[in-house]
Subunit: 189 residues, 2 copies
């Protein structure tokens, strides 16, 4: 799909989309504005990404600081530790602000919800699931442990509840506590 | 605070507030509309509840189908089981829709966020914490188990992630799975 653009050009476009999202929000963001800011044609944007929801979802995915699918240390505890080591607190807070801003747009735009599910949430969940399945194959976690399929729920809870309940941003220290206190015990690891 | 109204009258007022919330949303809900619908004076409403955010938070609190502070079966597993038994799936879905509608208003109204924290979230969390502390005193959970203070985060995850990830409403069956797979194992119970 992205064959016509260089990775650098793609990264530039995604960065411009996120800047615009922060400046004007999802509803006011137009493909015209993205085209103008990046000196590209709207035709190119539509050919490459299909629609505004898809472009936004891909920009958010590209911005993810940690690539779970690149992590494979040989143990589940090590995989989580490396994931948290690669977590950048400042960046995570910026991302969280962006996602909060999008929460409302998602409610009112079923297409955006679908694009975010397909292009952002599912690939992330699949990578996480592969990480867990490797732990199952190594015998670290029982194959029928019911917590395996509840991992997204546990992690989303950490991200949503930290600001809501504790009035503090999610950072690597908090996530480390959460993984050690909730995630690993539920997996029996 | 509520000394001037009978419990029946209070319940009527709260029900009217929730009806209006569902009909017009938080931003468009006015104290005038609540007064008109309930045939009360605005002065009474302000004297009794202080402000719109506080009235809305109290109405939501009053609507909670399960009173955690009334549950004490003598075991942690039993307490969770009774809590889930008292959970009404239809009512929970209606409540979830209402809370989703409020999510945006909370972002834009710091006063509403504060009222919901003080009048709705904190009392609920305190009741839950008392339930957990009883389990600690009975020796079912270690006093220094780090999952004790992460209970709200785990539970919020279940409520938020179920529709988002699984595209299904939260119901008693799902919550039972979640409590057995995540909550109780993290508590070592």
């Amino acid at each position: 799909m992205a064959s016509r653009l260089t990775p650098e050009r793609e990264a530039e476009l995604y960065a411009a989309v996120l800047d615009l999202l922060r400046e004007v929000g999802y509803d006011a963001l137009t493909m015209d504005a993205v085209a103008a800011r990046t000196r590209s044609s709207k035709a190119t944007l539509y050919r490459q990404w299909g629609s505004k929801p898809q472009l936004v979802a891909m920009a958010l995915r590209h911005d993810k600081p940690v690539r779970i699918d690149e992590i494979d240390t040989g143990s589940l505890r090590g995989d989580f530790a490396l994931m948290l080591e690669r977590t950048d607190d400042c960046r995570m807070e910026k991302d969280a602000a962006l996602m909060r801003g999008l929460a409302h747009a998602v409610h009112n735009n079923p297409e955006l919800l679908q694009a975010m599910r397909e292009l952002l949430v599912e690939p992330e969940m699949n990578s996480l699931d592969e990480m867990l399945q490797r732990a199952v194959r190594r015998g670290e976690v029982d194959a029928d442990n019911p917590a395996l399929k509840l991992m997204p729920h546990m992690l989303i809870g950490a991200f949503i509840a930290r600001p809501l309940i504790d009035d503090r941003p999610v950072d690597a220290a908090f996530l480390t506590d959460y993984v050690n206190a909730v995630v690993l015990p539920s997996l029996g690891a």
